[in-house]
Symmetry: C2
Subunit: 306 residues, 2 copies
């Protein structure tokens, strides 16, 4: 890399977990000349100033994107269309507009109509996160070793895609290019349906009449507490994910339910061998995830680390 | 406590994760005069000797329990009846026989018929574990701050129950007394059904035709990887749990599926408010689990801890 940063001005719209993590990461690597943070909330902007994680911070989205070479929308999926509409007229030709939304087909549909000619819309999704939200929850290492999926539509300038990929690689990510619809199906199984199931079982648990909520909490260490972590994720973000990835989520959910009913039948009829076979098969997947460093091998995620 | 340990001779039958954790913990606290480790496997016994986590180690279960004041069976739930049958005739009057099995109604049914008069059968379940198994996976802090549930049948000598509770408290646990059937229902929701769901979704993921296994592994950081940890648990142990807690598991599973179908419908019809309400309600449960120190508050279980 030369002394020139990859982008002159970078504008981040929405400074929550993801936006503030990008801002923080940009403090450590020479990818941006200036970083402007924009958020609809005055309180968030005040906090961004206190944290000093951007060169400039404003609630004026139009001003933030003016002259920006890269604009990344880091708001809930359901707000992406409104952001695109607000910033569209102020974008400079040649700018790259991207996002970090957890669904991708819907982003293309929402944002593309508002993009002026000469602007490169390249939706992206860093597959990295935690259950926390807001500007204080971000940290610069969030993207390290994680994948960022770019979903350009056909006809997108390959050089612009390359530059955005280089940006995410600079933040520590590995990058992959995928069609938006395929992204949505892959994430339905690796993220969206797991979240739905976690929310669901925590709901089921709190609605049982014969088991008190205090018992559920006390004895959660048996496995349930892992689900509660996921089910503590931001309600707005996740409502939007399910509303904006409906088709893929319903498809995967149909499979999940079908498989679960078969397991239920195995239990009812005492078919231990079928249970044993599935339980053995699933171990192999865990092993691969650890081998590919997508998770820690420490038992219990290292909760007992000393 | 006086200089006297709580029990003279303690025999542990089955030296895997739980048995070896108890053995290791007993090295640090004066609860047992002697600790004898018994396992059906010569290899495990050899390893126990190498690790020096018991005073004596043997494959002879009858010898191990002879003169023991406390016997704890730490084998899979489906093997408890056979262990009880093997050791029954060698138990000394006044001995306490217990276990650590994840189901309790079935333990009573399997073990009680083999108990001679004057022996106190007090089933118990330490609600603590990891996804690993075998004698090398144990560690002495496993039970610290966790609950151990005792499920004596009516008529059990209260003094014996007290002594067993004191034993678990000595290992760092909090104790609770519960009816076996109620235990089984509580654990169905806090542990058994969550495990079943985790196994199931990992199975569903690996069976999808349109998403490759390599994609599932790469992008698992979105939430799925948490499920794979649970779905890496021991197949024998978990097969036995489902076969031996059938009724409660099927009851809770029925509720889970009913609730999931309602959520599916919310998604299909775009009912965002219902989703938002559930996702808000589930956060409160997470907060209580953290407040009661049943889990770490670190985002992502502290995976990003430096
Ligand atoms: N969290 C994860 O694990 C994760 C992982 C990968 C991708 N993502 C995606 O990243 C995006 C941001 O998520 P996050 O976790 O960073 O969320 P977050 O911490 O809740 O931050 C979201 C930000 O968007 C703003 N916002 C919300 N609604 C808005 C609206 N209607 N118009 C304008 N701004 C609005 C919020 O402002 P206020 O403070 O005023 O509400 C906040 O600054 C989402 O699209 C999500 O799908 C999340
Ligand atoms: N793991 C957890 O998270 C957890 C938590 C709470 C309670 N529990 C309960 O604790 C018990 C032990 O689980 P664990 O995790 O310690 O399992 P583990 O690490 O797999 O150890 C099980 C031990 O039992 C022995 N065993 C297996 N089948 C046997 C049989 N038919 N007859 C005699 N011995 C046999 C095994 O010997 P081999 O090596 O020869 O197979 C091994 O030594 C189970 O009842 C389980 O439900 C487990």
């Amino acid at each position: 890399m030369t002394g020139q940063p990859l982008f002159g001005k970078v504008a981040l719209i929405g400074i929550g977990l993801i936006g503030s993590s990008i801002a923080r990461a940009l403090r450590n690597v020479p990818l941006a000349g200036t970083v402007v943070a924009a958020d609809r909330s005055e309180a968030v902007i005040a906090r961004v100033r206190e944290l000093a994680i951007a060169d400039d911070a404003t609630t004026d989205m139009a001003a933030a994107v003016t002259d920006a070479d890269l604009v990344i929308a880091c708001v809930p999926v359901g707000a992406m269309g409104a952001v695109a509409e607000a910033v569209g007229p102020h974008l400079k030709p040649g700018a790259i507009v991207s996002d970090v939304g957890s669904t991708k087909g819907s982003i293309v549909a929402q944002m593309a109509p508002h993009m002026p000619a000469g602007v490169h819309l390249i939706p992206a999704h860093p597959v990295a996160g935690t259950e926390h939200s807001g500007p204080d929850s971000g940290f610069p290492e969030l993207f390290h070793g994680r994948w960022c999926i770019l979903t350009p539509v056909p006809g997108t300038d390959p050089e612009a895609v390359e530059r955005l990929a280089a940006f995410w690689q600079g933040l520590g990510s590995k990058t992959e290019v995928m069609a938006p619809d395929h992204h949505d199906l892959v994430l339905a199984i690796t993220s969206h349906v797991p979240h739905l199931i976690a929310y669901n079982i925590v709901g089921t648990a709190s609605d049982l009449e014969k088991v008190t909520e205090s018992e559920v909490i006390k004895f959660s260490a048996g496995g349930f507490r892992d689900f509660t972590r996921i089910a503590a994720s931001d309600p707005t973000m996740w409502r939007d994910v399910f509303l904006h990835n409906k088709e893929a989520v319903l498809e995967v959910l149909g499979r999940f339910t079908e498989d679960l009913i078969a397991l239920q039948r195995n239990i009812r009829w005492g078919q231990g061998d079928q249970l044993f076979d599935l339980f053995t098969r699933t171990r192999a997947i865990r092993r691969s995830i650890i081998d590919q460093r997508q998770d820690t091998a420490d038992p219990d995620f290292g909760r007992n680390r000393k």
